[in-house]
């Protein structure tokens, strides 16, 4: 198992590149779904103390969807938007709905995360040459800290820090950054899978 503190720039770059490939595919899928151009970038891959990650915006009111990744590597996705932004996001799919108390709104939000995650993973799976599966999304709307800490419980058994591949969504027409996050958190033992596969691929 990798110790997260031993990760070098070259490792982070590799993770960033694999994230970029996934994000590009995910953005195309979202563009089709919402019928407008959406860009998605991986601005950073970082190792962060779990406590800091959770405390940063602990009381922010968010809608979040959580998806587990299994198969060739293990980890999970979080799609998290402030409630206002989440309502904006789903407005084109289900006009007049919301993500707080409307089942259609929640379902639309989950479906967006499902599609984003699916296309991200299929690109990553092709890049790494390993099969990847995803669980159906589960959903919560509440304080960010309360939601994240529950999602990070299993990961926290391995390390006090977590590796975070953080994607940012851009609405190209409006030119603004959607105030939402799309996080991929792989388990530490799955990082070995990424590195060994990638190294093998490039040494040939």
């Amino acid at each position: 198992m990798h110790n997260l503190n031993e990760l070098r720039t070259v490792h982070l770059d590799l993770l960033k590149e694999s994230g970029n490939i996934g994000a590009a595919h995910a953005a195309s899928s979202l563009s089709v779904l919402l019928n407008k151009p959406i860009d998605m970038r991986i601005p950073s891959v970082h190792v962060m103390p779990i406590a800091g990650l959770i405390d940063a915006d602990a009381e922010k009111h968010v809608a979040a969807s959580y998806i587990q990744v299994d198969g060739g590597l293990r980890g999970f996705f979080f799609m998290m938007f402030t409630v206002d932004q989440a309502n904006t996001l789903i407005a084109e799919l289900v006009p007049g709905s919301n993500v707080v108390d409307d089942a259609m709104g929640k379902s639309a939000f989950c479906e967006i995360s499902n599609i984003l995650c699916g296309s991200y993973l299929s690109a990553l799976s092709a890049f790494l040459g390993v099969p990847l599966t995803q669980s159906p999304p589960i959903y919560a709307v509440d304080m960010a800290g309360a939601i994240l800490s529950e999602g990070l419980v299993e990961l926290s058994l391995y390390d006090e820090s977590a590796l975070l591949i953080d994607a940012v969504l851009f609405d190209r027409q409006k030119g603004n950054r959607l105030n939402g996050e799309f996080l991929f958190l792989p388990f530490p033992d799955s990082l070995d899978v990424i590195f060994s596969i990638a190294e093998g691929k490039y040494s040939k």
């Binding site: 405390d55 589960i138 959903y139 309360a146 994240l148 529950e150 419980v153 299993e154 390390d159």
Partner: protein
């Protein structure tokens, strides 16, 4: 106001307050001495340190290490007799509604149970609790009144 972060343990004397933000499945445990107006709070994330895959971890992270650590400082440093200590707890929710089996089961209720078992083993009475359900909580303990104030987004404020 003293901020207690994830897996942390902090102590306060009157008129200070102890606050922890966004408890989900985590449990906020307060052990206090009402006459002396001294309290310690832990933000417990998991029920048992035997689950840990690492050799080092903050003592406040697991119920079975957090409660003894709280007691040790309350009795040794603050000189409070164990028999006069009381506890209040909050948190242990289940944020995600799912029918699927989570890898660690219902972690919220396991945390609450583990914390109560620890307190019971050390003969500390739980005088009040606001646990379970499916919402996040921000809690603040006031050493002056020994009240635990709980804020939730949809439920508003309550005091135990």
């Amino acid at each position: 106001m003293i901020h207690v972060g994830l897996s942390e343990i902090k102590f306060a004397e009157c008129p200070e307050t102890l606050k922890t933000l966004g408890l989900g499945s985590c449990v906020g445990v307060v052990i206090y001495h009402d006459q002396k107006q001294i309290a310690g709070m832990a933000h417990v994330m998991l029920p048992d340190s035997s689950l840990a895959r690492t050799t080092t971890y903050p003592l406040g992270k697991y119920a079975d290490t957090a409660v003894p650590a709280l007691l040790k400082k309350m009795t040794e440093y603050y000189d409070c007799p164990v028999s006069q200590l009381k506890a209040k707890i909050a948190g242990g929710a289940e944020m995600f509604k799912t029918t699927r089996m989570a890898p660690l089961g219902s972690i919220g209720s396991r945390n609450v149970e583990a914390v109560k078992n620890q307190l019971c083993a050390h003969h500390i009475p739980v005088v009040a609790e606001e646990t379970g359900a499916d919402y996040g909580r921000t809690v603040e303990f006031l050493t002056e009144t020994c009240n635990l104030t709980i804020h939730a987004i949809f439920k508003g404020k309550s005091i135990i």
